[in-house]
Subunit: 320 residues, 2 copies
Amino acid sequence: MDLTRRTMLAGTAAAFAARADGAAAETPPAGTASPGIYRYKIGSFELTAIYDGIWYRPINDQFIRNAPFSEVEHALDAAYMPHDRLATPFTTLIVNTGKQLVLLDTGTGGQIAPSAGVLRANLAAAGIDPKAVDRIVISHFHPDHINGIKDKDNALIFPNAELMVPAAEWAFWMDDGNMNAAAADLKLTFRNQRRIFTDIAKQVTQFEPGKEVAPGVETLPAPGHTPGHTVFAVHSGDQSLLVLSDTAQHPAVFARHPDWQAAFDIDGAEAVKTRKKIFDRAAADRMLVTGYHFPFPACGHLLKTATGYEHVPIEWQPSL
Amino acid sequence: MDLTRRTMLAGTAAAFAARADGAAAETPPAGTASPGIYRYKIGSFELTAIYDGIWYRPINDQFIRNAPFSEVEHALDAAYMPHDRLATPFTTLIVNTGKQLVLLDTGTGGQIAPSAGVLRANLAAAGIDPKAVDRIVISHFHPDHINGIKDKDNALIFPNAELMVPAAEWAFWMDDGNMNAAAADLKLTFRNQRRIFTDIAKQVTQFEPGKEVAPGVETLPAPGHTPGHTVFAVHSGDQSLLVLSDTAQHPAVFARHPDWQAAFDIDGAEAVKTRKKIFDRAAADRMLVTGYHFPFPACGHLLKTATGYEHVPIEWQPSL
């Protein structure tokens, strides 16, 4: 079959006209990624999931402390992931309460991996000016959650935002005794926190979990991953969203295998206990959830299975 | 804890300044959905998944011909779906080969359900002018694949596009004997096809499966769902994408249960045979796949499990 000839014979008159006028028949490629934004509603609150990109985190056979690596490899295979890197996507959340624009965690600030750091471009695509963000609430002090407070030159990315952080995170990480006692790689984490927080310490409000950090935005303690690791419950009208933060990182690994203690958990056993408690509640109550390292747009539901939990992504809605 | 007071005390000077100048502290909600577009590459081809929305298709206990409805309900539960409606998202694909803009299937044209018909808005968000589409290739003649050829007033939505359709589809559906012999509800499908095709019949090119419909876009027979149902293999460089069309509708139901024959399959047994053959190949070869009714952005991989297949969505890439 001569496709070219056939095409020409079958072409519509309009198509010929378009080409006869000398206009290029070829449409140039866009050449850039499409926006990583997803807008949805909880009651009267408008939420926007803002993608910051993905880090392929190097892992080795010590990655999970309490499972043989052969089992970990099996889980990675089931997720079409390589064995030497953990897919670690980053999705932050903007909550527009109608009164305030609240940002939950801040992304990498482009300071973690070349494949992450598109938060600002996606904010722009969502029509959100960083200057309009009223409040930033931090779940915990790992760099992929706090580095987006500042750009690489240490200028504030959200200059008008009040900063709220878990008191227990501040107490643990800003303690120089803890820093001095830490292993070398963890010392880098402590130093990074000082780079982010020291010169703006007076602008930081510490909160205790269990309190609201904005009307309709509740905080709940979720220790283990870090001592002050916090999750959020967003409530409006009769709807809720549970923001799981790092209660589980990629669900194909940690929701399916809730017992696994990752090397990056400060207290692995407590992280597992917290994960099961929160996931059990979310599954039993059929709560809408979102996880910071769940695949974009990250929101969905948790289903309890015989061996763990399955994340069931929501269907993408074409309207609000 | 008095949050309001605490907030005020802790607010940064900049935040106070922003509010003292009389500017509104509240950011208005966007009020509209974010775009349903996802751009990716296969070799040098730029692909754009364009979401048309979702239909919650009414189903009853006759929906699957060869399984008890209790099993179907179990599958729906695992997908957080209700028992009386099947989530049926629509994702079309634009392939920019560098020479041509090829559209694979056309969406609903807004003529199926109020929650679908956002294809044109999403094309605009992707910067694609419907007039620039050079070629439309149709997988089969069900209304959610062909109605987007025309708007509800029967005007061509892609006026410069050549239209290519599977010869076996044309032969089956445009046969008035088949139409007259069909049950009442299927007669509506036949009549809709005449509305779409009759007045533009001379502009339609029929193709035999196994042939390319554009350089790098191969067609493969996939009968069962309909007699001429066709899948596509897009090749560029050393990369490929298999476009599964309706080989399986929602993967939570039909990939996990490949033996199930849906009431909407013309030949359920043949649809199952086709599904297993194609899915086995895709899983064995670890092919990138996309399905017309897979959750947006619809592309990913298939994993063979003990009982069927699992669709593993790709991780959203922040760059091309």
